[in-house]
Symmetry: C2
Subunit: 205 residues, 2 copies
Amino acid sequence: MSSPTDQSFETPRFPALMVELPAWVESHLAHADTTYDTVEDRMRLAVELSRLNVEHGTGGPFGAAIFDTQTGKLVAPGVNIVVDSRWSGGHAEMVAFAIAQQAVGTHDLGAPEFAHHELVTSTEPCSMCLGATPWSGVKRLVCAATHDDATSVGFDEGPKPADWVGELEARGISVVQQVLRDDALRVLQAYASRGGYIYNGRAGN
Amino acid sequence: MSSPTDQSFETPRFPALMVELPAWVESHLAHADTTYDTVEDRMRLAVELSRLNVEHGTGGPFGAAIFDTQTGKLVAPGVNIVVDSRWSGGHAEMVAFAIAQQAVGTHDLGAPEFAHHELVTSTEPCSMCLGATPWSGVKRLVCAATHDDATSVGFDEGPKPADWVGELEARGISVVQQVLRDDALRVLQAYASRGGYIYNGRAGN
């Protein structure tokens, strides 16, 4: 159907997006048997991912992970991949949801046949990631740095409802805040003080 | 590094997600020269995509598209792909953003070197897609069916701020509501009355 000069042969008109982790993540987490027993253990990983993402130059200072709440098993990590993936949706939480759902094999991490899943994130979710949380099926959200911490270094958290914690709890999702907050905040501050690229998009850049 | 029994050889521990349109979309939109001059022309396409997505059995009754506001050129279509892609983030608007950003080659559809881009969607955005809108770089949002239309057939729009239109406008994004609303609502109602799967995720299913 295509002629040799058909441009779509080289680049499809509507090209797909591959949502994938930077290569260092899989090798950094080579020990598949590791379990993360406490919320602090789980958050330590999310914050470490945020720090390593900056160190490797693969994205912004944000890390997240989906865990099986009961066994402490890591289901999927996530880091900010916005710039490298050319996708404004590539926040750490969105990446963790996407990879976890591929790993588990369904869009619903809260399906009855699964143990409960939780999202652990180095910074409280922006409006997009907040909105994505109920659809993901996770039953708990654990956060480190706060909304105010993120805005203090220049990130816009977007149009969130004032009582976002209450909104999630009304949908059956419990929220735990400020776990290892200082550790996460230090990563944000180090990024900002080194002049890291802060993308908000509000005014187009 | 891998032994023949290494499970990761078959399935990576953290598998990637491919965000791609159902095959019928690209063939349906084979005429790349078509332009869409008015907001009604653009919305007619978004609503048609919502209807065809149900007809083809490829997802929920939602369609969207990114246009170059000035030329009326279609940059990327989007349809709901949640169930087939195993990704709760696969709403029509999120898919349109992702594909448009791949087509244009940057995460920022509002970068200074581009003409203005706009999102046209068959139903007002849920909390996730609302939150994603400022990060995408679009400068205008055009909607058909309303928040109340979506909830009237059983869809939860999620934790949105009360004045979500004002929140977008404060970020430099103009909002046009109820363009071809009745056409879009008819698609939602037909889907619901035929017992279409309504996924909200709130309670895990």
